[in-house]
Symmetry: C2
Subunit: 279 residues, 2 copies
Amino acid sequence: MCPPGVLRHVHQALSRRDLFKLGAGAALAGAFPAATRAQAARTLRFANLRVAHVQDLTHPLSPRFPVFPAYEPMRVTKLFDVEADGFFANRWDLAEHTGTHLDAPAHFIANGVAADGLEPESLLAPVAVIDLRERAAADPDTALGVDDLTAWEAEHGPLPDGAAVFLYSGWDARAGDARAFLNADAEGTLHFPGFSPEAAAFLVSERRIVGVGVDTPSLDIGAATRFDAHVAVLGAGLWGLENLANLGRLPPLGATVFVGAPAVAGASGGPARVLAVWS
Amino acid sequence: MCPPGVLRHVHQALSRRDLFKLGAGAALAGAFPAATRAQAARTLRFANLRVAHVQDLTHPLSPRFPVFPAYEPMRVTKLFDVEADGFFANRWDLAEHTGTHLDAPAHFIANGVAADGLEPESLLAPVAVIDLRERAAADPDTALGVDDLTAWEAEHGPLPDGAAVFLYSGWDARAGDARAFLNADAEGTLHFPGFSPEAAAFLVSERRIVGVGVDTPSLDIGAATRFDAHVAVLGAGLWGLENLANLGRLPPLGATVFVGAPAVAGASGGPARVLAVWS
């Protein structure tokens, strides 16, 4: 890393032959990592962690990703180019609530905990997936209610302490089409599923969770005129995740989620890399 | 989430009494999550994962965080305010190589894999920490060499397949002071530790790693006039992490790192949330 002038010189000095001498780094490109990855996919063994499945729950983020009406889409500007400068780098200009992203308590709560203030322990959690896809397909205004939580528990047992509770509505399939994803009617009211205020209140008061997530653009349903689910979750100092992807690939229980929340000081949230693992 | 006008109304409608009725979300703020976290700190049990330690390896990112001379510091602009708008959100303007961040192959390699193209499996890795702090304190131009890798292996055994190899130089303690962190001399040459080109080449050709990391601003040493360590690692399709924090708190072997790499389409890298766990 260096100012462009220096790098241009460096790039010219670094011939293909140099690359080859450097442990055949360039020659191995593609082939070696592919082998590593194939092996990794079979079994990842760490100290005490056996992982058979790694599932990305993150949408690729780009200027085309749909944003809530309050925000403008992300802008990406190229700063440097491999050919011209020896290296490639962009600048980003984006609102914190863009793409698959975290809501920190500070998003709705004055003096609430910001993104960088969340305890690292709360970013690692057993995941409960509540499948509302069938109801969401029939009624985009459907909300995850207390009954859905108790029905899930009747089938899978009590929500684990420290759980992340994710609402799977199937909405991630619409993310490529902003109109379908936000699903506004003629009056501008949005229509997509979310948590009911009662379910959010139940989770923060009757269970010991660390956060909630949705595959839609908002913790509250799109047609909500208040933001009670947001306020219940964030008001309890917990986190929310919006625009999650691929929740349908997770087991209802048994996966562990890593929330790669942004560590931006004082942030109300921000794009997050979210991965789930299970055995 | 909604345009400001609507939210202002909503915010006014949502009285303290409403908050209390919502499962005492606000009343519980602080107290409840603290209890959850205290419990989490004692033992985090998932499907097959026992975690006694969760260590954040990420510096808080802000406009004050030192950036490489090629880039400008991050800018943060407040878009909405809880008091005025009912919710709080910022906009960020930042170069991809800001804060604790990922270098994707595309950063130095034309048509290399971008940040969003890295295999999710490669973002979860057993960590080897090579402690060079003593030498770095005596000589900021010191480089991690092949001898350091073989010495580490003599003590801890072969580098695990799929490992992330992190250089711990103690440089993270300087991150609050841009001058000390970049450590430029009168001619503008930077002085901080990094990987030697030979060590980088050895790792990608003789071992099966997924990536490397440093607690300094660059994979190559600051005084390097070429970027051979970058090119060796990124040319092999692997990732790099720069500006890591708290590597001194990890065991030399036994931790698993989760790299919350940005999923920005086509990115050369970007700020990453990096967490390590071990039992």
